[in-house]
Point group: C2
Chain length 369, copies 2
């Protein structure tokens, strides 16, 4: 193989695939980045068998071929190369790949390319399309609510549900649930897939086109593929039955509070300074006299309290939450005002932006004495 390409394109491609490079080397070949050159296209690939990523860029191909280089070193070398143009050439005698740019020359040992499990795009029984900006928003507004512990795998992923022209993403760790709806071009049939949070985060990270473009999603048995721009991402799906989230959302509320999002966020973050080290990071909220009084109490450190103006309709009440579950949603609400809707001190509450009926967050209170 012998190719020339711009540093800009190559760095971009390396950044796209790098997160899929395996760090713990169960199989050494998976710690590599696979490069394949043909027809003026250089394709980079990396996979850890959980996620596989491919990125294609333009290159002058003097000699087609494929090689695998240590992901870690190749990435660092490319980032630091001095020139705008980079030449990559494999050497038949030794197992070295020569990377040249200006006066700098690196000879990196390569891994056996024939051992690399090359990514095969899904033929795809089911295929539909979604705008990248819509998919990105679905992910960002929900994925943070996934569970971290692997004890119950289905909660470590987000549910993507497609039904005609409705698309919904839902994530929950059973203590809080985030749901975001949107529309797509009518798609005949309905789909339910649980996508690992790790892949969702990776998707959101690499979808960077300035102008909205289409993502083509194809599924096959327990796999899902995302194709957009010059990128292809293949992921396993999480198997299992996602609970019926509609049953978690209370039909109506006895109290609805309207609060300024940022004032509330700042106050909660301050008061939770002293709650953080407590076992459950608990803050108490007292909704009365058109204000919410936020308090925390840590016997070893001290107490904090702050008042935020609020407009309360319905019963006044006291309730307690895990502070992180509150700040997580407040950071994801873009509208100036939010609606905090409640029933009793022990029943689930809802937090919604005032301007987006398609975004719902349900949070279970904490029992305190």
């Amino acid at each position: 193989m012998k190719i020339t390409c711009t540093k800009e394109l190559l760095s971009h491609a390396v950044q796209i695939v790098q997160k899929a490079v395996a760090t713990k080397a169960q199989m050494p070949i998976l710690t590599g980045i696979y490069m394949s050159a043909a027809d003026n296209i250089l394709e980079l690939q990396a996979t850890d068998y959980e996620i596989g990523v491919s990125c294609k860029i333009e290159a002058d191909i003097e000699e087609p071929g494929s090689v695998v280089l240590s992901g870690r070193y190749f990435q660092e070398v490319v980032r630091k190369l001095p020139g705008d143009k980079i030449e990559i050439a494999s050497n038949t005698e030794d197992r070295m790949i020569k990377i040249t740019s200006n006066f700098a020359q690196f000879n990196l040992l390569c891994l056996p390319a024939e051992e690399f499990p090359v990514l095969k795009p899904l033929a795809g029984d089911t295929i539909f399309q979604i705008r990248d900006n819509i998919l990105k928003e679905l992910i960002k507004k929900t994925v943070f609510a996934c569970a971290n512990d692997e004890a119950r795998p289905i909660f470590t992923g987000g549910l993507l549900e497609v039904n005609n022209h409705d698309v919904t993403m839902v994530a929950t760790n059973t203590h809080r649930l985030a749901l975001k709806k949107d529309m797509i071009d009518p798609f005949d049939g309905n789909l339910k897939m649980i996508i690992p949070a790790k892949i969702l985060n990776e998707l959101a990270r690499v979808m960077v086109s300035d102008v909205p473009s289409n993502v083509t999603i194809s599924c096959q048995r327990n796999q899902i593929g995302f194709a957009f721009d010059n990128v292809y991402i293949l992921s396993r799906l999480i198997e299992g039955q996602f609970p019926d989230y509609n049953r978690v959302i209370p039909p109506n509320f006895a109290t609805t509070v309207t609060i300024n999002t940022n004032d509330f966020l700042d106050a909660v973050e301050r008061v939770s300074l002293l709650a953080r080290d407590g076992e459950y990071n608990v803050i108490k909220l007292a909704f009365r006299n058109n204000a919410v009084m936020i308090t925390s109490n840590n016997p070893d450190i001290g107490k904090a309290e702050e008042n935020v103006q609020a407009q309360i309709e319905g019963n006044e009440l006291d309730i307690a939450f895990n502070a992180k579950y509150i700040t997580d949603i407040l950071k994801n609400i873009n509208s100036d005002q939010l609606h905090f809707a409640l029933n009793t001190p022990l029943s689930p509450a809802s937090v919604k932006p005032t301007d987006d009926p398609n975004y719902t967050y349900i949070i279970t209170p904490v029992r305190t004495n």
Copy 2:
């Protein structure tokens, strides 16, 4: 105690003293920040017995007194407080300190103020003054060369030498040595003190006055005190005999090379990418044909090489160094060009900026086969 002050001044003071707050609580009281209020001055103090720091700010003192608060929480609370004004009041009934700003109120448990080892400025047998910008430069240009391991304590500090109007700071880990000289107002006598690197770094961090101002340095037995602006820093000195650094500096060199500082730094950083994980992080330099060829070789990863133009006077030679010892000095040279002076592949070399005769760096080569 009851006081009011601006958030700006209090945050500043907390930042100045925080690095002296003990993290591992051999003595709980040392994890606190001591505050003492009198005569419209609020003084903050912290100490871990290695270093003690005091910072005074203006405040409205309604009720004088002194308290000690958890350094960690007080610092976080102050940073997050919403208003420009902060009120701090101790409560006689409980052991709580009330901190109020706008609608936010914190009640922090306080530590027993009477147990805090209040800082006593040195009476000072010897006192001299130095401009803060000069002291800062002496530190920054040398302290990085100190040894990290405590095996030989004298090398974990920088030697500050004062002789009439000459001031010199020297640091070495026995493999490389950095020396910076400057002038002060004539001072009668001569002084040699080894100051812990930790304290030197801390000093450089907190000397932030925009206009050069004087630092008053006083020493007494094994302690040294630095007074500037509204800050006082007290530190222990490292005891022991610092080696005669003049014997380390070669009187003359067989080869003198002039190189562009940044080109050389960039090339060394690139080439050392592959050396870094080697046991000694070794790069080889070949000085010949008015260029320096920088190479590294890591059998497990690959090879790197780069050429940088250079003007060579005297013998050509090949020599090897720990790459970090080279990049450390290159990052501290501000002039476009530097002089790299050498004798033999196994004798110490010198790196100097072309424009500063008072800055010297000596580096011992690595033996390679």
